[in-house]
């Protein structure tokens, strides 16, 4: 949605705002995190599940409603539970219940995280300061699949700012096609390259971009 028009004014927080505005927001986050321990999907798959909500629902649902609805779809798609159980829960131990996240393990799991950096053979293809051009923001492996190249920077020229080393490639990882780690870079774009009428043409946007999303540009 980066760059989309029509969204209206931002409502900054007030100092009295709670971490979770509603009790169910907290519950939605906790259920989502806890089911991760069943190890039936990875982070990229769960992100993609949110993107796969029908556009009408995606626009209409609130933030945590997207989470919980995507989780329901993922649980069914991965065969963990049947959709009938949503309305008619069944009291029966699940084969995956041995993986259930226990209260005593929460602190350890949350403080551990899941780093995505990987070592790969081969040095980065691009150098700091090099000019690059992005390709189309589509998944190359799966039509309509997950990708992290935002639409608003597709087919734009930018400059390599930072090399982050190799990281798991979401375009394959989200679809069970393996981690296929690639070098990841921060690329800066002048706003004048991205928008027809930029607020200030010398402002910049920095986006993290995987190597195969880009090709080199020969500086004139």
């Amino acid at each position: 949605m980066g760059g989309r028009y029509g969204d209206g004014a931002i409502q900054p927080a007030s100092i009295t705002d709670k971490t979770f505005k509603e009790t169910w927001h907290a519950r939605a986050l906790a259920v989502t995190l806890a089911t991760g321990s069943l190890r039936q999907w990875n982070l990229d798959m769960s992100r993609h599940a949110r993107e796969c909500l029908p556009p009408k629902d995606y626009c209409a649902f609130s933030y945590y409603d997207k989470w919980i609805s995507a989780l329901a779809n993922l649980l069914v798609a991965k065969g963990v539970i049947s959709p009938d159980e949503f309305l008619d829960p069944v009291q029966k131990m699940h084969p995956l219940s041995s993986r259930k996240l226990l209260a005593a393990d929460v602190a350890g799991v949350l403080s551990k995280g899941a780093p995505t950096s990987r070592s790969v053979e081969g040095s980065p293809k691009f150098l700091l300061g090099q000019s690059v051009k992005t390709r189309r923001a589509d998944n190359k492996f799966i039509s309509g699949g997950h990708t992290r190249l935002p639409k608003y920077v597709e087919r734009c020229e930018g400059k390599i700012e930072i090399c982050h080393g190799a990281h798991v490639f979401p375009d394959t990882h989200a679809h069970g096609l393996g981690e296929q780690p690639e070098h990841l870079y921060t690329v800066s774009f002048l706003t004048s390259e991205l928008w027809e009428s930029p607020e200030n043409p010398s402002d910049t946007l920095c986006v993290d971009i995987w190597e195969s999303y880009m090709e080199p540009v020969n500086d004139p």
């Binding site: 259920v31 089911t35 029966k92 190249l149 402002d203």
Partner: protein
């Protein structure tokens, strides 16, 4: 699981999101797949233990100690590990420094990526369509809505967190707060200042 062939099981759940969460939680608890006590523990962690105080502690140190700042901007992970600020959604963190020349702002246009171990759960506005769609196109107008006006010559640099790298802003210490000690500073460094939508000393 491409977009068009997926069955949308979520439509079988109640449409009220509060009931939707409840139904899902009940179904999962009955199958022994989640433990309500673990859910309480997760909520307690993000409600009471992990929040912007962590980030403010680090920022205050960096504003007072040049060497600490250099290390933080270079390789923050070692410092964060030492302070116990590692964890989920903060596996790879980069700190970007505001200067009189450049003002940094962080967003995630694809979802809501955010440095949880340093700033906790993102505020509602950070996750809103309004912020995510607009800040990449009209950051200065967005800053005005937060009550921030930048000097004319300051360039804006927006960081869209599209990978697993999480960004935190190291704000400028205004002259009037020079002489504050670490604890006093960490009190006035707001969450929004570390996202880039406030300056030190602004409320929120």
């Amino acid at each position: 699981m491409p977009h068009d062939v997926e069955k949308h099981s979520h439509s079988l759940l109640p449409s009220d999101p509060e009931l939707k969460v409840k139904a899902l939680e009940t179904a999962l608890v009955k199958r022994g797949l989640i433990d309500p006590a673990a859910l309480d523990e997760i909520i307690d962690t993000y409600q009471n233990k992990i929040g912007p105080k962590n980030g403010a502690t680090i920022v205050a140190k960096a504003l007072l100690d040049k060497n600490f700042k250099k290390d933080l901007l270079g390789d923050p992970m070692q410092i964060l590990e030492k302070h116990g600020f590692l964890g989920r959604q903060g596996e790879h963190i980069k700190v970007v420094e505001n200067t009189p020349e450049v003002h940094n702002i962080v967003v995630c246009t694809l979802c809501s990526c955010y440095p949880w171990p340093l700033l906790g759960i993102p505020p509602t506005w950070y996750k809103s369509d309004e912020y995510r769609s607009r800040v990449v196109r009209e950051p200065r107008k967005c800053l005005l809505e937060f009550g921030v006006t930048l000097p004319k010559n300051t360039k804006v640099r927006v960081w869209d967190s599209t990978a697993e790298i999480r960004y935190m802003v190291l704000p400028i210490l205004p002259d009037k707060y020079k002489g504050f000690d670490e604890e006093q500073l960490s009190e006035i460094i707001s969450r929004d200042a570390m996202i880039g939508t406030a300056l030190i000393g602004d409320q929120s």
